[in-house]
Point group: C2
Chain length 428, copies 2
């Protein structure tokens, strides 16, 4: 058996702990699969968790020092954050000609191209299977398993916290704020949940998938992002009635005007592959010109699934399996030509809260007609003259710019008691 | 850019044609992803289809001659059949130190270990991503993407023809024979459909998945196989009423007495990942100790999806990515210690056609009690004294041997007008 692969781990939190456990518990199996043993030779964290099987492994309170001073083949970066220590140690390790494995989607979203260029110049691997959709081997699938395809679109549920909140809202009929508070109490959502619920985390991941799927440079700045704060229990109920589920999706799609790259709540058919994925599960759908539709589903976070992905990268490195970081050489990635959201064509759900009085419908219909937006269906339960009622419309095949103009006009109608709510419908 | 990867293709049917088209249409993209061009340097088939872009490519009516006489790096074997020409050319190519890529599940099911040993001795790749679940990159996922896991169970819908027939039976209420005839007329089922509908094809694929998942030698002879000929429209209706769908599944699972390896119709919950996969789609669920449950879904057959899988193997070879054929070195695969079906514990659906007369239920109940089998529920619509009625029971957590003894006794009851039907229930 060949030489040991020497691993230095920076970060011993949930994912770091899981990775240490996996490497220890499955040491024999991994050596068999990789063709050589994998060994942790150093670790760094603010504190060394005493319960981890790290006896005899040199410990550093300063990750930068570990990366500079130790002898290792691979740095596993599990500190997190797009810059700071994480970026410093990754850059330093690549600079020393060492491989890097990370779960840090924020860092890749912001510095992916530069790091890939650095890694490829150094002839080492920069692996980040764990950065997207946890245990689902979607990075490998796009880069290698579907390498024969031109990808037409890729989309998915990329944030488990949002999917958990939306699923719970549907199951319990409760409102967003209440369910979020409960998720925080249960540890399913962070104390500062904005990265998750405002769609930033999903957008980080989507920007990585876009690069792999389309051979374009990671371009987080061009992701259109909307979160789930405005999704109400009422919308979820209406969605159900219309045959839809509300999911926060990341979508990247080739269109005539460029590649759409967007994260926002969507209504998807209840019986679609993606509509049925509930709770903390993630799912990614990739459509290729030869393979057709493929669906990948699994746990998107947590110690075990993320460690599984980290170790898959380590086994590839140990076995000497090399590949361009984003599927094609980093120097050959093209700039992302992003389609403007104004040019998006699609279907829409619109919910209005209006005072039920004569003439309101005529005003709404006029606004739509003037912008040449055709209504597909309208839903209103009962009538309550003089009181507030909810009116739900679905609109099909409309350009986003026209839709927005119509919505602005509708929002200005006197009888409107709150701003119109708009959710895009995707007919997967 | 490095040297061209020289490809010889044996077999120019549906999959061969798709592979030629993919390699031609995406030549530039593939060269970028693989780091070198991929070129077809020879092809063999009974006839050379004139519509394929093979102008100038040497053609052989005798695949054995092509394999012996040409200069190539990889043989792509798409002839089919577990032995004969297919096995001859694969063995000959490996013997010359060339890589082999194949979609031939029958050959791997019967000769997988020997071929893997030969390939690994020669230091070449024996790739068969296309042999299981068409375009779904499940072989790569098991071998590499989930390499950090001990797999606890793997199961899936592995035969698109059966899934199409069962889906159509459910949607139309028609009987098996009629739907099969229609599927044959439409080209979804072979003129001799027994390989598909008797579960042989699914069993070939399952034996390959078992090897990859558990590190055991491929052992097709130890697959317990039942097909779908006996599934009736009535069973599908009752399944629906009980909250289940009937699917032909391949299941491999670790148990205390060994590894279960079985192919048979199953009732699965309507809302399970696998219960919702309809038509010609395949799906595979792999459960690992760290990653948890992962689901992979896509088209299981056809020119495009299968070509996608063939080319994924070719890109790996071109890029120099090596791996043990079945995830661990072939010489280290352990013999499969298979669990006896008699030791299987699970749930069962039983349908009896009985003459509705006093005392019948008592006889059935006695047979169950004597074998210590506990009924969970019983379903009968209306009563029709003196006439034949269907009685459906579900049984939970019973040993297969006891279940079979009880069924034999029940089958011998006078009032029974046809043999009892038994379908296993899997509570995924």
């Amino acid at each position: 058996m060949s030489d040991v692969l020497k691993i230095a781990i920076a970060g011993l939190g949930t994912v770091g702990g899981g990775t240490v456990r996996l490497l220890t518990e499955h040491a024999e199996l991994l050596a068999l699969r990789a063709g050589r043993p994998l060994a942790i030779v150093a670790c760094a964290a603010l504190d060394k968790p005493p319960e981890l099987p790290l006896v005899g492994v040199p410990f550093f309170a300063d990750a930068r020092r570990m990366v500079a001073d130790c002898d290792y083949d691979v740095l596993v970066e599990l500190i997190g954050g797009s810059g700071g220590v994480a970026l410093d140690v990754v850059t330093a390790a690549l600079g020393r000609g060492c491989h890097v494995v990370t779960a840090n989607k924020a860092m890749i979203a912001h510095h992916g191209l530069a790091l890939a260029l650095q890694a490829e110049r150094a002839g080492v691997t920069f692996g980040f299977e764990a950065a997207v959709a946890g245990g689902i081997p979607i990075i490998k699938a796009l880069r290698e398993g579907l390498a024969g395809n031109r990808i037409q679109q890729i989309y998915g549920i990329l944030n488990g916290t949002c999917n958990y909140i939306l699923t719970t809202m549907r199951e319990t009929g409760r409102e967003f704020a209440e369910v979020l508070a409960e998720a925080q109490a249960l540890g399913y959502a962070e104390a500062d949940p904005s990265f998750d619920i405002d769609g930033i985390d999903a957008a980080h991941k989507l920007s990585i998938l876009t690069s792999l799927a389309f051979g374009t440079a990671v371009d987080f700045g061009q992701v259109h992002i909307e979160g789930i704060r405005h999704v109400s229990a009422l919308d979820i109920r209406f969605a159900e009635e219309l045959g839809y589920r509300i999911k926060l999706l990341g979508i990247a799609r080739r269109t005539e005007t460029g590649i759409e790259q967007r994260v926002h709540p969507c209504m998807v058919p209840i019986n679609s592959s993606i509509g049925r994925v509930d709770g903390v599960f993630n799912a990614v759908v990739a459509e290729g010109d030869f393979v057709g539709r493929t669906v990948f589903e699994g746990r998107g976070a947590g110690a075990g699934p993320t460690a599984s992905a980290v170790v898959a990268d380590l086994v590839d490195i140990a076995a000497g399996r090399r590949r361009p970081t984003f599927g094609v050489p980093a120097g050959r990635l093209e700039p992302l030509r992003c389609a403007a959201m104004d040019d998006h064509r699609g279907a829409y759900y619109i919910r209005l809260m209006v005072v039920d009085r004569p003439g309101v419908f005529a005003e709404i219909a006029t606004a739509l007609r003037d912008e040449q937006v055709s209504m597909e269906s309208i839903l209103q339960h009962g009538r309550a003259p003089g009181e507030t009622v909810s009116v739900v419309m679905t609109i099909h095949d409309t350009r986003e710019a026209a839709m927005n103009r119509a919505i602005r006009r509708i929002g200005a109608i006197d009888a409107m008691v709150e701003p119109p709510r708009l959710i895009r419908i995707e007919a997967f």
